[in-house]
Symmetry: C2
Subunit: 421 residues, 2 copies
């Protein structure tokens, strides 16, 4: 009998109770043990009276129940961080679905786990039920990983899909909220932070690096309008919120940004609230993982499978694999070391010479134009959409600052990156 | 130092040498051990003199080198089976990429491995470098798996892609051979047997069942013509060679057949020599895995990662997980217990009344027509293509036998299954 305590009985916690109860036979068949849920820590007991589980009032009470494994499903940083640390200090293995705490406090958590040689498993923290953490750690272990590129946030992917279906941003966000995909305060999703936590975790696992999340940057989708999605489509692209991590000369580029992907790119066809992760390794080539990246049941699938894996090791008194295999602190590439292609939408005075002025400003910063199309013209103003050749990102942003000073340029409406193989 | 012996230095064996040598630093970083290739067993030493590895003449000589792990990359049944058995009997863990021997002799191999408590790992046997065996065994372990459906053979998928591009079958096969995707004798690929071995292995892993491969059936793609691919496209479908496994009331349907998939099905867009596997579980929902399903380097990625995983366990003197968790022999569903929709192409005499006759024969067997279209008419003969409603498979095949007796029916050109959710 493996004694399990659960911290938090929200959507995921309740699904974890269900999968452990419904699939008791499968669990026993595979690991030769039964699970007993010895207690759950909740804030408001009155909400959970029907769940047939002992409700604890404090983390100390959870510890007094002598669990073999603690499952942290509270989310956010506090008190999840403190509970995870206390569990590890008490030599109790942890399973968590909490991307934020792992991304923000990797050193505190992984160094402690490795020092105590107590496992912390977190397959559920990235991609919900999609197997991705263990495949990267174990199945692709022999590869030199070159790049990870994924759609890691279902809410923003749903909104972008709705834009692609012709809805305006506000309506798309409202639909996401009605479907339960977006929270009342959708800031962490829209800003790309949620996806940034996840790509930081995957990067740490794949490259064996310690990442300071504050050194990474994310761009969200709040500025993207229906118009941009339609213009991108005319040019042969879909706009997706991409989380991407690559390595160049032992320096890392780990970021989240909306990007124009050509229709033929495997991530371009990932729609609605689905997630997908493309991994490139030196021997395996490209492999892709796809599925529901959030939700109670898919996440519980990963949590319960992690519990089973840890239970197998506990039962056989195994040495636990080091959590992160972290060898060094990651050096993050700076804007002047990064190169990209860009999409640029501007509103300009509709008179001769304006294009020449823009081209000159761009050229002065070594940015050259691949294509330009005039989209609308109204009341003396025209909308110009540019696709730029690959350029240094710092140069590009300097050129944008200079463009804002050009008299004929009314507005730099949007800049987006464009995928280049 | 972990001592590794390799049986067979073909395409995959050579790539395994390369990945172990090129990625020595990554391997050491992750498991804290170096690999030493102590020897390789080859048939013709003169072909491998430049590979800088000790070449052994016999399996006994390999044993005398005292390897910690034996990597079987000979393929086919003999002598691979005998070598695997001798390795396990000598308590030496095995890594293999050999789907045929695992599918044909699961009982001999897995029962011995479990009895001796010696691990045999085979991530590379299905889907080349795509992580699928371990994700099914570990990451999705808590789910009740409902269905596995995949494109598991790159050669036939490449041929079907070429048909879709407008080439005739013979030309498509020739191109596959020129690309090195199809062997000189492509029978095992074309007949669906290669895919059948793989789906049998995945089914065994997912459902914990022992499968007698002789009880399973496969249909290949040799009868499919360019014409069928074009007709299917007109109807909104792609033809794919599908390996599929599902469970109903503890009985199993595990087969390989070409199938019409609607364009929107996630496997419909898998083209060229790529593989993809869709897994449905009760909690995780649908997850999909995609990548290069064959070739030296991708397969070596899986082999080397398996070696790393076993090495970790060896180093820490771990109890090895049972190979198959096999609980029972699988009961396979019979044709009279199976239901499907069908595509039916016939050549008939072009005269009034023939459709009525066909419809009557079908109706007599409880098979009803969903749609019919007349495709060509030439020299008194017409080509009729039917899509049938879901029906009992045994009834369908009886109706086909009866149709052949109808005077106006010149030929039953092809029958194919049609996907129904």
């Amino acid at each position: 009998m493996i004694r399990i305590a659960i911290l938090g009985l929200g959507n995921v916690g309740t699904s974890v109770l269900n999968i452990i109860r419904n699939n008791k036979d499968i669990i026993y068949q595979k690991i030769g043990e039964n699970f007993e849920i010895v207690g759950a820590l909740v804030r408001d007991k009155s909400k959970h009276l029907k769940k047939e589980v002992y409700l604890a009032s404090s983390f100390e009470e959870i510890l007094s129940l002598k669990p073999d494994i603690i499952v942290e499903l509270i989310g956010s940083v506090h008190p999840a961080l403190e509970y995870i640390i206390k569990s590890l200090e008490n030599n109790i293995p942890v399973v968590t679905a909490n991307k934020e705490v792992l991304a923000k406090y990797p050193n505190e958590i992984f160094a402690l786990a490795d020092k105590k040689r107590v496992p912390i498993y977190f397959e559920a923290a990235v991609g919900g039920g999609i197997p991705i953490v263990r495949p990267l750690k174990v199945c692709l272990a022999a590869n030199r990983i070159k790049e990870i590129m994924g759609i890691l946030n279902g809410t923003t992917n749903y909104i972008l899909t709705k834009l692609d279906e012709g809805f305006e941003f506000e309506s798309a966000l409202k639909q996401a909220q009605e479907k339960g995909y977006a929270e009342a305060n959708p800031e962490s999703d829209l800003s790309g932070m949620d996806a940034l936590y996840k790509i930081a975790i995957l990067s740490s696992v794949s490259f064996g690096i310690l990442i300071d999340i504050n050194e990474l940057s994310s761009e969200g989708i709040s500025n993207i309008s229906l118009k941009d999605v339609l213009y991108a489509r005319d040019l042969g692209y879909k706009i997706k919120l991409i989380a991407r991590s690559c390595v160049k000369d032992n320096k890392y580029d780990i970021r989240v940004y909306p990007m124009l992907l050509p229709f033929s790119h495997p991530l371009a066809s990932v729609s609605n609230n689905m997630n997908s992760i493309l991994v490139k390794g030196d021997f395996v080539g490209s492999v892709m993982f796809y599925g529901q990246g959030a939700g109670g049941n898919p996440t519980a699938s990963a949590v319960a499978s992690d519990i089973m894996d840890i239970s197998w090791h506990i039962r056989n008194s195994h040495t636990h694999r080091l959590s992160g295999n972290i060898k060094s602190k990651a050096i993050i590439l700076k804007p002047n070391e990064l190169f990209s292609r860009f999409y640029l939408r501007t509103i300009v005075k509709d008179n001769p010479g304006v294009l020449a002025k823009i081209a000159k400003v761009l050229a002065d910063h070594n940015v050259s134009i691949k294509s330009m199309v005039q989209k609308t013209s109204d009341k003396g103003f025209a909308e110009l959409v540019f696709i730029l050749h690959q350029c240094n990102e710092q140069n590009f942003y300097k050129s944008i600052e200079d463009l804002k000073l050009v008299d004929s340029v009314k507005e730099i409406a949007l800049t987006l990156r464009v995928y280049e193989d």
